[in-house]
């Protein structure tokens, strides 16, 4: 299957100008098509290499910033395609979930099995300032339909708080791993 990375490489080698969709743009577009999902966008004061090195280590990163995940285990790896199983810390309503994942540089797309919950983590260098990172987080219930509108509204309200907490957790985890700047010498 063609990856987003393959598409970007092909576009870069084309003689005709070919527009591409960077990971944050993919996240924004997908969020629009998923009425139960919410999108949260921030600029992180760290370069993409550091941000993505943290996020891409899913077994370590997700339980660190997501309070609904006590444990994430990768059960299958096939190139950029992964399967993972998560365990919730909650005793009530905290069922294990399985996710199919596409993990590329700057792009992590997680869809639950069965197919009703989605998480997208997308990052790219901030335009004009590569020392910072544009980060887009999309998460929520992936269902649509008129009858589901009340449920989706409730889900979005819950997801907004949850996603804001996730993004704050990512920034806090990156701060915790930052190399301290030595004091200026006299």
């Amino acid at each position: 299957m063609t990856t987003w990375t393959d598409l970007d490489a092909a576009a870069a080698g084309d003689r005709w100008p070919v527009a591409t969709l960077d990971p944050p743009a993919r996240g924004r577009a997908l969020a629009v098509g998923l009425p139960g999902a919410v999108v949260h966008e921030v600029v992180i004061d760290r370069p993409i290499d550091e941000v993505w090195a943290f996020i891409a280590d899913l077994e370590r990163s997700v339980p660190t910033f997501d309070r609904d995940v006590a444990d994430l285990r990768i059960t299958r790896r096939d190139g950029h395609r992964l399967t993972a199983r998560t365990r919730s810390p909650w005793r009530v309503g905290g069922l294990p979930m399985r996710f199919e994942i596409d993990l590329e540089v700057g792009w992590c797309w997680m869809v639950s099995q069965p197919n009703f919950y989605v998480v997208a983590m997308a990052a790219a260098p901030e335009p004009g300032d590569p020392s910072r990172t544009r980060y887009v987080h999309v998460e929520g219930v992936a269902r649509r339909g008129r009858l589901l509108q009340p449920l989706l509204r409730l889900s979005r309200w819950r997801s907004r708080r949850h996603v804001a907490h996730d993004v704050a957790g990512i920034a806090a985890a990156l701060d915790a791993t930052a190399t301290p700047v030595p004091p200026p010498t006299r």
């Binding site: 070919v18 527009a19 098509g33």
Partner: protein
């Protein structure tokens, strides 16, 4: 892209929606890139947002590419007209037909192609892209641009001539 995947995407299946956007990206990227040039990425993002937002309204999955093309052309021309455009001086151009794929040979570079495209107006770039990279006929182009067939014919004629003039300058 099979009809079943498009139907699933219309019902809000996230995996299918991502597959639809990924499948459309190179096709719509060529349209947005060649028409909007520097603003191509922004045009492609707006196109994808509109595709995702309105996909449910598409009646026939088989019509997906044509439907998405119309959105891409509209967004790309809109993005291009917000940027700097160099008007084409049509005085003295040769009206003979021209195929950019033949003119742009193996020895040409991306920089050269971009420079020539930059010298055309956005709507001229749109007809060139649709005719020669996408193989559309005048009727299909008229539908995508939402203009009369005769308008497309004259735009294509001027665009070909202008392209050749710039390329051989």
């Amino acid at each position: 892209m099979d009809d079943a995947t498009i139907r699933r995407a219309q019902r809000g299946d996230p995996a299918a929606l991502e597959e639809v956007l990924r499948d459309l990206a190179p096709y719509l990227g060529r349209i947005c890139g060649a028409i909007a040039l520097q603003a191509g990425d922004d045009a492609l993002q707006e196109t994808m947002v509109n595709v995702a937002r309105h996909l449910g309204s598409l009646r026939e999955p088989a019509a997906l590419r044509g439907w998405a093309r119309r959105i891409a052309v509209r967004e790309a021309v809109r993005a291009a007209t917000h940027g700097r455009d160099v008007p084409v001086d049509l005085a003295g151009v040769d009206p003979a037909g021209l195929d950019p794929r033949r003119v742009v040979g193996d020895g040409s570079t991306a920089v050269e192609v971009r420079a020539v495209l930059e010298s055309l107006e956005p709507d001229q770039r749109a007809v060139l892209v649709m005719r020669h990279l996408d193989g559309l006929d005048e009727l299909e182009m008229a539908e995508a641009l939402q203009v009369a067939r005769g308008t497309v014919k004259s735009r294509l004629h001027r665009a070909r001539a202008a392209f050749r003039e710039r390329w051989t300058a």
